[in-house]
Protein backbone atom coordinates (compact mmCIF):
# COMPACT_ATOMS: atom_id res chain seq x y z
CA UNK A 1 0.00 0.00 0.00
CA UNK A 2 1.16 3.51 -0.66
CA UNK A 3 0.13 6.88 0.63
CA UNK A 4 -2.17 9.38 -0.98
CA UNK A 5 -1.04 12.72 -2.24
CA UNK A 6 -2.86 15.34 -0.19
CA UNK A 7 -4.08 17.57 -3.02
CA UNK A 8 -4.81 15.35 -5.96
CA UNK A 9 -5.59 12.11 -4.14
CA UNK A 10 -3.19 10.29 -6.45
CA UNK A 11 -1.63 7.15 -5.03
CA UNK A 12 2.04 7.43 -4.37
CA UNK A 13 4.08 4.36 -3.71
CA UNK A 14 7.59 3.07 -3.55
CA UNK A 15 8.71 -0.37 -4.66
CA UNK A 16 11.83 -2.11 -5.78
CA UNK A 17 11.86 -3.76 -9.17
CA UNK A 18 13.84 -3.39 -12.37
CA UNK A 19 10.88 -3.27 -14.73
CA UNK A 20 7.95 -1.56 -13.02
CA UNK A 21 4.49 -1.69 -14.61
CA UNK A 22 3.92 1.92 -13.63
CA UNK A 23 6.11 4.61 -12.19
CA UNK A 24 4.89 6.55 -9.16
CA UNK A 25 2.60 9.36 -10.20
CA UNK A 26 3.99 12.79 -9.50
CA UNK A 27 1.20 15.36 -9.57
CA UNK A 28 2.25 17.95 -12.12
CA UNK A 29 2.13 21.61 -11.51
CA UNK A 30 1.37 23.49 -14.70
CA UNK A 31 4.41 24.51 -16.67
CA UNK A 32 5.05 28.13 -17.41
CA UNK A 33 4.70 29.14 -21.04
CA UNK A 34 7.58 26.87 -22.00
CA UNK A 35 10.15 29.44 -23.01
CA UNK A 36 7.66 32.28 -23.35
CA UNK A 37 9.25 35.58 -22.45
CA UNK A 38 7.18 38.44 -21.01
CA UNK A 39 7.54 40.20 -24.37
CA UNK A 40 5.76 37.29 -26.08
CA UNK A 41 2.88 37.59 -23.63
CA UNK A 42 2.61 41.35 -24.15
CA UNK A 43 2.52 40.87 -27.94
CA UNK A 44 -0.13 38.16 -27.74
CA UNK A 45 -2.25 40.20 -25.32
CA UNK A 46 -1.98 43.22 -27.60
CA UNK A 47 -3.05 41.10 -30.58
CA UNK A 48 -6.05 39.71 -28.69
CA UNK A 49 -7.27 43.14 -27.64
CA UNK A 50 -6.22 45.26 -30.60
CA UNK A 51 -6.75 42.68 -33.34
CA UNK A 52 -10.53 42.84 -33.48
CA UNK A 53 -10.44 46.59 -32.88
CA UNK A 54 -8.22 47.20 -35.89
CA UNK A 55 -10.34 44.96 -38.07
CA UNK A 56 -13.40 47.04 -37.27
CA UNK A 57 -11.58 50.34 -37.22
CA UNK A 58 -11.35 50.32 -40.99
CA UNK A 59 -15.13 50.08 -41.33
CA UNK A 60 -16.28 53.08 -39.32
CA UNK A 61 -13.97 56.07 -39.68
CA UNK A 62 -15.87 58.91 -37.93
CA UNK A 63 -16.56 57.14 -34.62
CA UNK A 64 -13.88 56.44 -32.05
CA UNK A 65 -11.90 53.26 -32.54
CA UNK A 66 -12.74 50.50 -30.06
CA UNK A 67 -9.34 50.82 -28.48
CA UNK A 68 -9.82 54.54 -27.85
CA UNK A 69 -13.19 53.79 -26.27
CA UNK A 70 -11.58 51.14 -24.08
CA UNK A 71 -8.90 53.64 -23.06
CA UNK A 72 -11.64 56.07 -21.97
CA UNK A 73 -13.32 53.48 -19.77
CA UNK A 74 -10.13 51.95 -18.42
CA UNK A 75 -9.92 53.97 -15.17
CA UNK A 76 -13.47 52.97 -14.24
CA UNK A 77 -12.84 49.31 -15.05
CA UNK A 78 -9.61 49.33 -13.04
CA UNK A 79 -11.50 50.82 -10.11
CA UNK A 80 -14.01 47.99 -10.42
CA UNK A 81 -11.19 45.47 -10.51
CA UNK A 82 -9.71 46.90 -7.31
CA UNK A 83 -13.13 46.42 -5.74
CA UNK A 84 -12.92 42.76 -6.81
CA UNK A 85 -9.59 42.48 -5.07
CA UNK A 86 -11.02 44.06 -1.92
CA UNK A 87 -13.85 41.53 -1.94
CA UNK A 88 -11.40 38.66 -2.48
CA UNK A 89 -9.05 39.73 0.33
CA UNK A 90 -11.90 40.26 2.81
CA UNK A 91 -13.59 36.96 1.94
CA UNK A 92 -10.24 35.19 2.21
CA UNK A 93 -9.52 36.70 5.63
CA UNK A 94 -12.96 35.84 6.95
CA UNK A 95 -12.98 32.36 5.37
CA UNK A 96 -9.51 31.55 6.67
CA UNK A 97 -10.31 32.62 10.22
CA UNK A 98 -13.51 30.56 10.41
CA UNK A 99 -12.11 27.73 8.27
CA UNK A 100 -9.04 27.28 10.48
CA UNK A 101 -11.30 26.83 13.50
CA UNK A 102 -13.47 24.40 11.57
CA UNK A 103 -10.37 22.49 10.47
CA UNK A 104 -9.16 22.18 14.04
CA UNK A 105 -12.66 21.07 14.93
CA UNK A 106 -12.27 18.24 12.42
CA UNK A 107 -9.30 16.84 14.34
CA UNK A 108 -10.91 17.38 17.73
CA UNK A 109 -11.00 14.49 20.18
CA UNK A 110 -14.68 15.13 20.85
CA UNK A 111 -16.80 13.00 18.55
CA UNK A 112 -19.61 15.58 18.33
CA UNK A 113 -17.28 18.46 17.39
CA UNK A 114 -15.49 16.29 14.86
CA UNK A 115 -18.70 15.05 13.26
CA UNK A 116 -20.31 18.49 13.08
CA UNK A 117 -17.20 20.14 11.64
CA UNK A 118 -16.85 17.36 9.08
CA UNK A 119 -20.47 17.73 7.99
CA UNK A 120 -20.32 21.53 7.72
CA UNK A 121 -17.09 21.28 5.73
CA UNK A 122 -18.46 18.69 3.31
CA UNK A 123 -21.73 20.54 2.90
CA UNK A 124 -20.17 23.83 1.89
CA UNK A 125 -17.49 22.14 -0.19
CA UNK A 126 -20.02 20.25 -2.27
CA UNK A 127 -22.31 23.19 -2.95
CA UNK A 128 -21.51 25.30 -6.03
CA UNK A 129 -20.07 28.76 -5.28
CA UNK A 130 -22.82 30.50 -7.19
CA UNK A 131 -25.55 28.75 -5.22
CA UNK A 132 -23.88 29.76 -1.95
CA UNK A 133 -23.61 33.32 -3.18
CA UNK A 134 -27.33 33.37 -4.04
CA UNK A 135 -27.98 31.86 -0.64
CA UNK A 136 -26.19 34.68 1.16
CA UNK A 137 -27.62 37.35 -1.12
CA UNK A 138 -31.28 36.48 -0.85
CA UNK A 139 -31.57 35.08 2.64
CA UNK A 140 -29.69 37.76 4.57
CA UNK A 141 -31.77 40.84 5.41
CA UNK A 142 -30.73 44.19 3.95
CA UNK A 143 -30.32 45.57 7.45
CA UNK A 144 -30.11 44.12 10.93
CA UNK A 145 -31.14 45.63 14.24
CA UNK A 146 -28.80 45.19 17.20
CA UNK A 147 -30.16 46.75 20.40
CA UNK A 148 -32.14 49.29 18.44
CA UNK A 149 -29.11 50.15 16.32
CA UNK A 150 -29.86 49.63 12.63
CA UNK A 151 -26.85 48.20 10.82
CA UNK A 152 -27.29 48.17 7.04
CA UNK A 153 -25.97 45.17 5.13
CA UNK A 154 -24.92 46.43 1.69
CA UNK A 155 -24.84 43.91 -1.15
CA UNK A 156 -21.04 43.84 -1.39
CA UNK A 157 -20.87 42.86 2.27
CA UNK A 158 -23.29 40.03 1.65
CA UNK A 159 -21.17 38.98 -1.33
CA UNK A 160 -18.13 38.77 0.95
CA UNK A 161 -20.09 36.61 3.38
CA UNK A 162 -21.38 34.42 0.56
CA UNK A 163 -17.93 33.89 -0.95
CA UNK A 164 -16.31 33.23 2.42
CA UNK A 165 -18.57 30.18 2.95
CA UNK A 166 -16.88 27.93 0.34
CA UNK A 167 -13.49 29.40 1.30
CA UNK A 168 -14.16 28.42 4.88
CA UNK A 169 -14.93 24.81 3.89
CA UNK A 170 -11.84 24.56 1.67
CA UNK A 171 -9.53 26.07 4.32
CA UNK A 172 -10.95 23.57 6.78
CA UNK A 173 -9.95 20.72 4.47
CA UNK A 174 -6.49 22.23 3.91
CA UNK A 175 -5.89 22.43 7.67
CA UNK A 176 -7.12 18.89 8.23
CA UNK A 177 -5.06 17.55 5.33
CA UNK A 178 -1.91 19.29 6.55
CA UNK A 179 -2.27 17.98 10.11
CA UNK A 180 -3.00 14.47 8.83
CA UNK A 181 0.01 14.58 6.51
CA UNK A 182 2.46 14.96 9.39
CA UNK A 183 4.03 11.68 10.49
CA UNK A 184 2.50 10.35 13.70
CA UNK A 185 5.99 10.24 15.18
CA UNK A 186 5.70 13.98 15.77
CA UNK A 187 2.70 13.47 18.04
CA UNK A 188 4.30 10.56 19.85
CA UNK A 189 7.62 12.35 20.37
CA UNK A 190 5.78 15.35 21.80
CA UNK A 191 3.79 13.09 24.08
CA UNK A 192 6.93 11.40 25.36
CA UNK A 193 8.32 14.85 26.19
CA UNK A 194 5.22 15.47 28.31
CA UNK A 195 3.68 18.13 26.09
CA UNK A 196 -0.04 18.55 26.58
CA UNK A 197 -2.28 18.15 23.53
CA UNK A 198 -2.78 21.90 23.24
CA UNK A 199 0.99 22.51 23.48
CA UNK A 200 1.70 19.80 20.90
CA UNK A 201 -0.77 21.36 18.50
CA UNK A 202 0.38 24.96 18.88
CA UNK A 203 4.13 24.46 19.33
CA UNK A 204 4.89 21.39 17.22
CA UNK A 205 2.19 20.42 14.76
CA UNK A 206 0.79 23.72 13.46
CA UNK A 207 4.16 25.45 12.86
CA UNK A 208 5.12 22.54 10.61
CA UNK A 209 1.74 22.67 8.89
CA UNK A 210 2.11 26.29 7.79
CA UNK A 211 4.61 25.29 5.12
CA UNK A 212 2.33 22.57 3.80
CA UNK A 213 -0.76 24.73 3.92
CA UNK A 214 0.64 27.78 2.16
CA UNK A 215 0.66 26.50 -1.47
CA UNK A 216 -2.92 25.11 -1.45
CA UNK A 217 -4.04 28.20 0.43
CA UNK A 218 -2.63 30.46 -2.26
CA UNK A 219 -4.27 28.28 -4.89
CA UNK A 220 -7.55 28.79 -3.10
CA UNK A 221 -7.00 32.54 -3.03
CA UNK A 222 -6.47 32.51 -6.77
CA UNK A 223 -9.70 30.53 -7.26
CA UNK A 224 -11.54 32.94 -4.97
CA UNK A 225 -10.28 35.97 -6.88
CA UNK A 226 -11.61 34.42 -10.06
CA UNK A 227 -14.91 33.70 -8.31
CA UNK A 228 -15.46 37.34 -7.30
CA UNK A 229 -16.91 38.06 -10.76
CA UNK A 230 -19.84 35.86 -9.73
CA UNK A 231 -20.94 38.81 -7.60
CA UNK A 232 -21.86 40.59 -10.83
CA UNK A 233 -24.68 38.06 -11.34
CA UNK A 234 -26.24 39.18 -8.06
CA UNK A 235 -25.76 42.87 -8.83
CA UNK A 236 -22.62 44.00 -6.99
CA UNK A 237 -20.99 46.73 -9.08
CA UNK A 238 -17.61 45.11 -9.61
CA UNK A 239 -15.58 44.94 -12.80
CA UNK A 240 -17.95 42.66 -14.75
CA UNK A 241 -21.02 44.77 -13.93
CA UNK A 242 -19.14 47.94 -14.85
CA UNK A 243 -18.02 46.37 -18.13
CA UNK A 244 -21.60 45.52 -19.02
CA UNK A 245 -22.69 49.05 -18.09
CA UNK A 246 -19.88 50.63 -20.10
CA UNK A 247 -20.84 48.53 -23.12
CA UNK A 248 -24.48 49.56 -22.70
CA UNK A 249 -23.44 53.22 -22.39
CA UNK A 250 -21.56 52.95 -25.68
CA UNK A 251 -24.74 51.78 -27.36
CA UNK A 252 -23.92 48.08 -27.42
CA UNK A 253 -21.59 48.28 -30.42
CA UNK A 254 -20.69 44.65 -31.24
CA UNK A 255 -17.07 45.50 -32.14
CA UNK A 256 -16.51 46.70 -28.56
CA UNK A 257 -17.41 43.38 -26.97
CA UNK A 258 -14.17 41.53 -27.70
CA UNK A 259 -11.79 44.29 -26.51
CA UNK A 260 -13.77 44.93 -23.31
CA UNK A 261 -14.21 41.31 -22.26
CA UNK A 262 -10.66 40.61 -23.41
CA UNK A 263 -9.45 43.41 -21.17
CA UNK A 264 -11.23 41.90 -18.16
CA UNK A 265 -9.69 38.51 -18.96
CA UNK A 266 -6.28 40.17 -19.17
CA UNK A 267 -6.74 41.95 -15.82
CA UNK A 268 -7.45 38.69 -14.04
CA UNK A 269 -4.69 36.89 -15.87
CA UNK A 270 -2.17 39.58 -14.94
CA UNK A 271 -3.16 39.19 -11.29
CA UNK A 272 -3.62 35.41 -11.01
CA UNK A 273 -0.76 34.20 -13.19
CA UNK A 274 2.03 35.55 -10.94
CA UNK A 275 0.23 34.06 -7.94
CA UNK A 276 0.12 30.69 -9.70
CA UNK A 277 3.82 30.88 -10.57
CA UNK A 278 4.67 31.87 -7.00
CA UNK A 279 2.61 28.93 -5.69
CA UNK A 280 4.50 26.50 -7.92
CA UNK A 281 7.78 27.97 -6.69
CA UNK A 282 6.64 27.63 -3.06
CA UNK A 283 5.57 24.04 -3.66
CA UNK A 284 9.02 23.21 -4.99
CA UNK A 285 10.74 25.06 -2.14
CA UNK A 286 8.63 23.40 0.55
CA UNK A 287 8.56 19.97 -1.07
CA UNK A 288 8.79 17.34 1.64
CA UNK A 289 11.14 14.51 0.77
CA UNK A 290 10.13 11.39 2.61
Amino acid sequence: MGTRHENSGVWLMTYKTDLPVMLPVTPRSPEPFAGFKPKHIVIIAALVILGPSLAFAQVGAPILTPFAVLLDWMPLLLEGFIFNLVISVSAMALGTAVGAMLGLGQISLLRVTRGTSWFVTQFFRNAPWLVLLFFAMFLLPFEIKIFGLVVPLPDWFKAILGLSLPVMANVSEIVRGAVKSLPSGQWEAAESLAYSRQQTLWLIILPQCVKRMLPPWMNLYSILTMATVLASIVGVSEVMTLTAQALAAEGGRPELLAPFYGFVLLLFFAYCYPIARFTVWLEKKFAVIN
Binding site: M1, G2, S8, G9, V10, W11, M13, L19, P20, V21, M22, L23, P24, V25, T26, P27, R28, S29, P30, E31, P32, F33, A34, G35, F36, I44, P52, F123, N126, A127, P128, W129, L130, V131, L132, F134, F135, F138, L139, S222, M226, A227, T228, V229, L230, S232, I233, M240, P254, L257, A258, Y261, G262, V264, L265, F268, F269, C272, Y273, A276
Partner: protein, 247 residues
Protein backbone atom coordinates in the same frame (compact mmCIF):
# COMPACT_ATOMS: atom_id res chain seq x y z
CA UNK B 1 -48.08 9.71 -6.63
CA UNK B 2 -50.89 12.27 -6.70
CA UNK B 3 -51.39 11.62 -3.02
CA UNK B 4 -47.82 12.70 -2.33
CA UNK B 5 -48.23 15.79 -4.48
CA UNK B 6 -51.42 16.71 -2.67
CA UNK B 7 -49.72 16.24 0.67
CA UNK B 8 -47.23 18.99 -0.24
CA UNK B 9 -50.12 21.27 -1.22
CA UNK B 10 -51.64 20.62 2.21
CA UNK B 11 -48.23 21.27 3.74
CA UNK B 12 -48.22 24.69 2.05
CA UNK B 13 -51.76 25.50 3.21
CA UNK B 14 -51.07 24.37 6.78
CA UNK B 15 -47.50 25.57 7.43
CA UNK B 16 -46.66 28.00 4.63
CA UNK B 17 -43.72 25.90 3.42
CA UNK B 18 -44.16 26.40 -0.31
CA UNK B 19 -42.64 23.72 -2.53
CA UNK B 20 -44.46 24.30 -5.85
CA UNK B 21 -41.96 22.19 -7.80
CA UNK B 22 -43.54 19.14 -6.17
CA UNK B 23 -47.27 19.78 -6.16
CA UNK B 24 -47.60 22.04 -9.21
CA UNK B 25 -47.37 20.16 -12.51
CA UNK B 26 -45.97 23.09 -14.49
CA UNK B 27 -43.25 23.94 -11.98
CA UNK B 28 -42.48 20.26 -11.55
CA UNK B 29 -41.80 19.90 -15.26
CA UNK B 30 -39.59 23.00 -15.20
CA UNK B 31 -37.56 21.60 -12.33
CA UNK B 32 -37.19 18.19 -14.01
CA UNK B 33 -36.15 19.86 -17.26
CA UNK B 34 -33.62 21.94 -15.37
CA UNK B 35 -32.24 18.88 -13.64
CA UNK B 36 -31.76 17.05 -16.92
CA UNK B 37 -30.24 20.13 -18.57
CA UNK B 38 -27.66 20.25 -15.76
CA UNK B 39 -26.92 16.54 -16.22
CA UNK B 40 -26.76 16.84 -20.02
CA UNK B 41 -24.51 19.90 -19.86
CA UNK B 42 -22.22 18.09 -17.43
CA UNK B 43 -22.05 15.00 -19.65
CA UNK B 44 -21.35 17.00 -22.80
CA UNK B 45 -18.65 19.07 -21.06
CA UNK B 46 -17.16 15.97 -19.48
CA UNK B 47 -16.92 14.26 -22.86
CA UNK B 48 -15.30 17.18 -24.66
CA UNK B 49 -13.03 18.16 -21.77
CA UNK B 50 -11.64 14.61 -21.62
CA UNK B 51 -11.04 14.70 -25.37
CA UNK B 52 -9.30 18.08 -25.04
CA UNK B 53 -7.25 16.64 -22.19
CA UNK B 54 -6.16 13.58 -24.18
CA UNK B 55 -5.29 15.54 -27.32
CA UNK B 56 -3.60 18.31 -25.33
CA UNK B 57 -1.47 15.86 -23.37
CA UNK B 58 -0.46 14.23 -26.64
CA UNK B 59 0.42 17.59 -28.21
CA UNK B 60 2.45 18.53 -25.13
CA UNK B 61 4.75 15.64 -25.92
CA UNK B 62 5.21 16.99 -29.44
CA UNK B 63 8.69 17.69 -30.73
CA UNK B 64 7.65 21.07 -32.16
CA UNK B 65 8.47 23.91 -29.79
CA UNK B 66 5.54 26.06 -30.88
CA UNK B 67 2.98 23.27 -30.47
CA UNK B 68 4.08 22.86 -26.86
CA UNK B 69 4.06 26.62 -26.35
CA UNK B 70 0.53 27.01 -27.66
CA UNK B 71 -0.78 24.16 -25.50
CA UNK B 72 0.92 25.61 -22.42
CA UNK B 73 -0.41 29.05 -23.27
CA UNK B 74 -3.94 27.64 -23.55
CA UNK B 75 -3.58 25.92 -20.16
CA UNK B 76 -2.28 29.00 -18.39
CA UNK B 77 -4.83 31.31 -19.97
CA UNK B 78 -7.79 29.16 -19.02
CA UNK B 79 -6.54 28.31 -15.55
CA UNK B 80 -5.80 31.88 -14.55
CA UNK B 81 -8.89 33.71 -15.76
CA UNK B 82 -12.40 33.51 -14.27
CA UNK B 83 -14.61 30.92 -15.98
CA UNK B 84 -17.48 33.40 -15.93
CA UNK B 85 -15.50 35.96 -17.93
CA UNK B 86 -14.46 33.21 -20.34
CA UNK B 87 -18.12 32.32 -20.74
CA UNK B 88 -19.05 35.97 -21.42
CA UNK B 89 -16.15 36.31 -23.83
CA UNK B 90 -17.27 33.27 -25.81
CA UNK B 91 -20.96 34.08 -25.71
CA UNK B 92 -20.93 37.85 -26.25
CA UNK B 93 -17.62 38.59 -27.97
CA UNK B 94 -17.25 35.58 -30.26
CA UNK B 95 -20.95 34.69 -30.47
CA UNK B 96 -21.91 38.07 -31.96
CA UNK B 97 -19.16 37.94 -34.59
CA UNK B 98 -20.30 34.58 -35.96
CA UNK B 99 -22.82 34.58 -38.84
CA UNK B 100 -26.52 34.35 -38.09
CA UNK B 101 -28.95 31.80 -39.48
CA UNK B 102 -32.65 32.07 -40.27
CA UNK B 103 -34.78 30.28 -37.70
CA UNK B 104 -38.15 28.56 -38.16
CA UNK B 105 -40.08 31.79 -37.69
CA UNK B 106 -38.16 33.67 -40.35
CA UNK B 107 -36.17 35.73 -37.86
CA UNK B 108 -32.42 35.89 -37.42
CA UNK B 109 -30.91 33.79 -34.65
CA UNK B 110 -27.29 33.13 -33.70
CA UNK B 111 -25.70 30.05 -35.16
CA UNK B 112 -24.89 28.71 -31.68
CA UNK B 113 -27.30 29.03 -28.77
CA UNK B 114 -26.47 29.70 -25.13
CA UNK B 115 -26.33 25.99 -24.31
CA UNK B 116 -23.75 25.36 -27.04
CA UNK B 117 -21.60 28.26 -25.85
CA UNK B 118 -21.81 27.12 -22.25
CA UNK B 119 -20.75 23.63 -23.34
CA UNK B 120 -17.83 24.98 -25.41
CA UNK B 121 -16.63 27.40 -22.76
CA UNK B 122 -16.85 24.98 -19.83
CA UNK B 123 -15.24 22.19 -21.88
CA UNK B 124 -12.24 24.39 -22.60
CA UNK B 125 -12.09 25.44 -18.94
CA UNK B 126 -12.18 21.87 -17.59
CA UNK B 127 -10.01 20.67 -20.46
CA UNK B 128 -7.17 22.96 -19.38
CA UNK B 129 -7.03 21.06 -16.09
CA UNK B 130 -7.40 17.68 -17.79
CA UNK B 131 -4.33 18.21 -19.97
CA UNK B 132 -2.14 18.45 -16.87
CA UNK B 133 -3.87 15.48 -15.27
CA UNK B 134 -3.39 13.22 -18.30
CA UNK B 135 0.16 14.40 -18.68
CA UNK B 136 0.99 13.26 -15.13
CA UNK B 137 -0.51 9.87 -15.97
CA UNK B 138 1.48 9.55 -19.19
CA UNK B 139 4.68 10.35 -17.36
CA UNK B 140 3.93 7.47 -14.98
CA UNK B 141 4.11 4.97 -17.85
CA UNK B 142 7.69 3.67 -17.83
CA UNK B 143 9.86 4.30 -20.84
CA UNK B 144 10.65 0.60 -21.03
CA UNK B 145 6.98 -0.17 -21.75
CA UNK B 146 6.90 2.30 -24.63
CA UNK B 147 10.19 0.94 -25.94
CA UNK B 148 8.84 -2.59 -25.79
CA UNK B 149 5.84 -1.49 -27.86
CA UNK B 150 8.15 0.24 -30.33
CA UNK B 151 10.17 -2.96 -30.65
CA UNK B 152 6.95 -4.81 -31.48
CA UNK B 153 6.35 -2.42 -34.37
CA UNK B 154 3.56 -0.25 -32.91
CA UNK B 155 3.18 3.15 -34.53
CA UNK B 156 3.34 6.34 -32.43
CA UNK B 157 -0.44 6.74 -32.46
CA UNK B 158 -0.99 3.07 -31.65
CA UNK B 159 1.36 3.27 -28.68
CA UNK B 160 -0.48 6.31 -27.35
CA UNK B 161 -3.91 4.78 -27.91
CA UNK B 162 -3.31 1.14 -26.95
CA UNK B 163 -0.40 1.21 -24.49
CA UNK B 164 0.10 4.57 -22.80
CA UNK B 165 -3.49 5.78 -22.41
CA UNK B 166 -5.07 2.61 -20.96
CA UNK B 167 -2.35 2.55 -18.30
CA UNK B 168 -2.31 6.30 -17.70
CA UNK B 169 -6.08 6.66 -17.41
CA UNK B 170 -6.23 4.27 -14.48
CA UNK B 171 -3.80 6.18 -12.33
CA UNK B 172 -5.31 9.58 -13.05
CA UNK B 173 -8.88 8.62 -12.19
CA UNK B 174 -8.80 10.21 -8.69
CA UNK B 175 -7.57 13.54 -10.03
CA UNK B 176 -9.99 13.29 -12.94
CA UNK B 177 -12.87 12.73 -10.54
CA UNK B 178 -11.98 15.85 -8.58
CA UNK B 179 -12.07 17.81 -11.79
CA UNK B 180 -15.39 16.28 -12.80
CA UNK B 181 -16.96 17.26 -9.48
CA UNK B 182 -15.70 20.81 -10.02
CA UNK B 183 -17.14 20.75 -13.52
CA UNK B 184 -20.60 19.81 -12.28
CA UNK B 185 -20.44 22.69 -9.80
CA UNK B 186 -19.24 25.06 -12.51
CA UNK B 187 -22.26 24.29 -14.73
CA UNK B 188 -24.21 26.69 -12.49
CA UNK B 189 -22.36 29.52 -14.26
CA UNK B 190 -24.43 28.76 -17.37
CA UNK B 191 -27.18 30.54 -15.42
CA UNK B 192 -25.51 33.81 -16.40
CA UNK B 193 -26.24 33.31 -20.11
CA UNK B 194 -29.76 31.96 -19.50
CA UNK B 195 -29.15 28.26 -20.09
CA UNK B 196 -32.22 26.67 -18.49
CA UNK B 197 -30.31 24.51 -16.01
CA UNK B 198 -31.30 23.73 -12.43
CA UNK B 199 -30.36 27.04 -10.81
CA UNK B 200 -31.98 29.04 -13.62
CA UNK B 201 -35.23 27.09 -13.33
CA UNK B 202 -35.17 27.51 -9.56
CA UNK B 203 -34.79 31.24 -10.11
CA UNK B 204 -37.84 31.20 -12.43
CA UNK B 205 -39.85 29.32 -9.84
CA UNK B 206 -38.94 31.61 -6.96
CA UNK B 207 -39.67 34.63 -9.10
CA UNK B 208 -43.18 33.30 -9.78
CA UNK B 209 -43.97 31.98 -6.31
CA UNK B 210 -41.94 34.28 -4.03
CA UNK B 211 -40.51 31.37 -2.06
CA UNK B 212 -36.81 32.23 -2.17
CA UNK B 213 -35.98 30.59 1.16
CA UNK B 214 -37.47 27.22 0.31
CA UNK B 215 -35.98 27.16 -3.18
CA UNK B 216 -32.55 28.23 -1.97
CA UNK B 217 -32.44 25.51 0.67
CA UNK B 218 -33.70 23.00 -1.88
CA UNK B 219 -30.97 24.06 -4.33
CA UNK B 220 -28.26 23.59 -1.70
CA UNK B 221 -29.59 20.15 -0.80
CA UNK B 222 -30.07 19.19 -4.46
CA UNK B 223 -26.47 20.03 -5.40
CA UNK B 224 -25.21 18.43 -2.21
CA UNK B 225 -27.05 15.23 -3.14
CA UNK B 226 -26.02 15.38 -6.81
CA UNK B 227 -22.35 15.82 -5.99
CA UNK B 228 -22.57 13.27 -3.18
CA UNK B 229 -23.99 10.61 -5.51
CA UNK B 230 -21.36 11.48 -8.10
CA UNK B 231 -18.47 11.20 -5.62
CA UNK B 232 -19.82 7.89 -4.31
CA UNK B 233 -20.15 6.44 -7.82
CA UNK B 234 -16.72 7.70 -8.83
CA UNK B 235 -15.08 6.13 -5.79
CA UNK B 236 -16.59 2.78 -6.71
CA UNK B 237 -15.36 3.14 -10.28
CA UNK B 238 -11.95 4.16 -8.97
CA UNK B 239 -11.70 0.95 -6.97
CA UNK B 240 -12.89 -1.17 -9.90
CA UNK B 241 -10.33 0.33 -12.29
CA UNK B 242 -7.39 0.05 -9.92
CA UNK B 243 -4.29 -1.57 -11.44
CA UNK B 244 -3.72 -4.76 -9.43
CA UNK B 245 -0.63 -4.49 -7.30
CA UNK B 246 -0.30 -0.75 -7.86
CA UNK B 247 -1.35 1.45 -4.96
Amino acid sequence: MDLVFDWFRVLYDETGINLPFIYDGYDRNRMIDGFFTTIWLSVVCLFFSVIIGVIGAWLQGSSFKWTRRIVNGYIQLFRNTPPLVQLYFFYFAIGTVLPKVENDWGGQSPILGSFAWAAISLSFFAGAFNVEIFRSGIEAVPKSTVEAAEALGFSKLQIYRDITMPLAIRVVIPALNNNLVNLVKTTTLAYAIAVPEMLYEANQIWSDNVNVTEMMIFMLLAYFALVGVLVGGMNRWERAMKIPGFG
